[in-house]
Symmetry: C2
Subunit: 417 residues, 2 copies
Amino acid sequence: MTNFNIEQAAQQARLASLQIAKLSTDSKNQLLTLMADTIAANKSKILDANGKDIAAGRSKGLSEAMLDRLLLTNERIDGIRAAIIDIVNLADPVGNKSAVTKRPNGIEVSKMRIPLGVVAMIYEARPNVTAEAAALCIKSGNAVILRGGSEALHSNLAIAELLHQSLQQCQLSADIATVIPDPSRQVISEMLTLNQYIDLVIPRGGEGLIRFVSDNSRIPVIQHFKGVCHLYIDKYADLDKAVNILINGKTQRPSACNAIETVLVHKDIAAEFLPVANIALKPFAVSVHACADSIDYFQQASLASDADYAAEYLAQEVAVKQVDSFAAAIAHIERYSSDHTEVIVSQDYSRTNAFVSAVNSSVVMVNASSRFSDGGELGLGSEIGISTSKLHAYGPMGLQALTTQKFVVLGDGQVRP
Amino acid sequence: MTNFNIEQAAQQARLASLQIAKLSTDSKNQLLTLMADTIAANKSKILDANGKDIAAGRSKGLSEAMLDRLLLTNERIDGIRAAIIDIVNLADPVGNKSAVTKRPNGIEVSKMRIPLGVVAMIYEARPNVTAEAAALCIKSGNAVILRGGSEALHSNLAIAELLHQSLQQCQLSADIATVIPDPSRQVISEMLTLNQYIDLVIPRGGEGLIRFVSDNSRIPVIQHFKGVCHLYIDKYADLDKAVNILINGKTQRPSACNAIETVLVHKDIAAEFLPVANIALKPFAVSVHACADSIDYFQQASLASDADYAAEYLAQEVAVKQVDSFAAAIAHIERYSSDHTEVIVSQDYSRTNAFVSAVNSSVVMVNASSRFSDGGELGLGSEIGISTSKLHAYGPMGLQALTTQKFVVLGDGQVRP
């Protein structure tokens, strides 16, 4: 299909958003449970469609990594069901009221959480995102427009059909969840002008996709370009914690955006820490790019360049730099940070407080692994994305980031003098 | 000046934002007090500059209303001083932490308020905005770039000089508050591409300015197009409250965006309410555009068209429509609302609750005048603007809307299993 009418779809999604916004938590949970069960009961339909995508992907020569992300199995479909049930079990933010202020004239002012309206997701290979993003948007009372990667189109449309079946069974508009069947980039460009119907765009994928969306959108965009996460080993660090946090942060899942990319080491602890780090990193075959002061502590390391400090390796590779002071560590982070996650390891009360105050990345940690920078680990439940731009949301985004707050004023006939 | 280097200015503002972000509340208050006093002590400098703007405005043939907005007097400069001192007295949101959650593994997760970074304001005639917007941004720890109207350029530059004098006396960078001396629209276009340095743009002025900024910005924009505020007189309204709230909302300051533009009247109360409304509106010479069912209640009224229901009159003019039911009132608001402010007058518990739930405008009121839809009246203190788009902020924006929240994680060596 190439003549998909995105303007009409967005307009219908806007109308449907009024319907989903008014549903009670119970009704939304019933709908989501039905969606989860319908998906689990129709595995063969989804697997058939996915088989077509996999076959087309193979003949197009997609990489094995790409094919693996595209692949659905019985277990993975059970995973989708479980993810939706997790969302059923999350608290509904809609309708929550903040503390009430009573003004001198007696009016009571509070703020109440409400859905955003229509959320558009643009994403790449993994077809489970179709069901999980739809579930997060529905739970938070939003209509959703989903534009997955062309390589997953059959899988996404099969999932969409099951979502629509559930919506219809609940006598709700199918326009609450729209999957765009048009694989062209043109449809994205057109969608990004429809700010009268769509409230938020969340692109998930490579930096190229996110830049394209940011540069062409009239709709607010959640941006997440990259994660250059820093680990600062302070002069007063506990060495065991430092090494564990380094190994976990760098090696557990180096392809994740919350992996450590640069380690800053206070010069007064370098002679103690770096030899231990060298031994600990060895089993993981981590390539080290070290500054001139640090390089001799490593058996195999190359000299770090400025590009290394800016790099998001997403691999078993790390930059190491000695710093002369706490202030120098902060200055390095201010220069190279991607505003994702930064960690200090220190036992000193004043320094950990100062680090938390001075560093304004979206997640700032003390004596904990950067790998906790994730919606689930931080207690938000499932995450729809992560924001490294400061507007609206900053850091991992759960259900609450899919809502806003209106003011509610309760009076008894007051007028303004 | 036409060759102002906005890119360099924005880059310098970004650097200066790191300095202001780290200042204590006491230091920010000292700076603001000094700014207030310096402005009050240099009235003649400001009045001289303002005299040039007024003279130029007269010879350009600006309207008297425009000249009045441009004019500064001794009293108005005292008003600027007082507005800055009000901001000194507001609580500083920066550093406030939300409730701490302890995760099963023992890490403690909270959120801490931090400044946005660099805020750009684009505004029109009134030169007091230069000082007051700068003060709000400084109190919330942000650097600010100010682009006022060309007709107020001399006044704005005189105020900027006094702001810079105060910054220098506190040994702070003058780049914390930048006033753009270039009156061209070109400089705005260029500024709107600098999303690597500027975090937020707030345009204040006519719909044309706001559309221009929204359509051309890569930086998030706070939008506030117009205020078509509705007053719904329910079947169970208290008639006295209804009339008082109508008269206050419509006639007190009809040029304000929180004035009432359309009154919806439940058919069961129309025969009681409309004759009283007719009498009450008469002394204010309000032009009434009434639906066919209502028109006979008014001595002078024209028949309302669809355009009347969409109109922001900003004048002593109002649309009146009878509705058959509560649901019809909600449907009318959903169709014509500008997402600004809507009011219900009713004594019925279920209906007021239902109205608050169903209407998702930025301010929803029960039995109170729409004229309270204002940062000061709602208890936010001074207001930097108002947002009728749902992202980041929705409704009147005080200091808190100039901040965001970072996640803070405190651990004791935890790593992810």
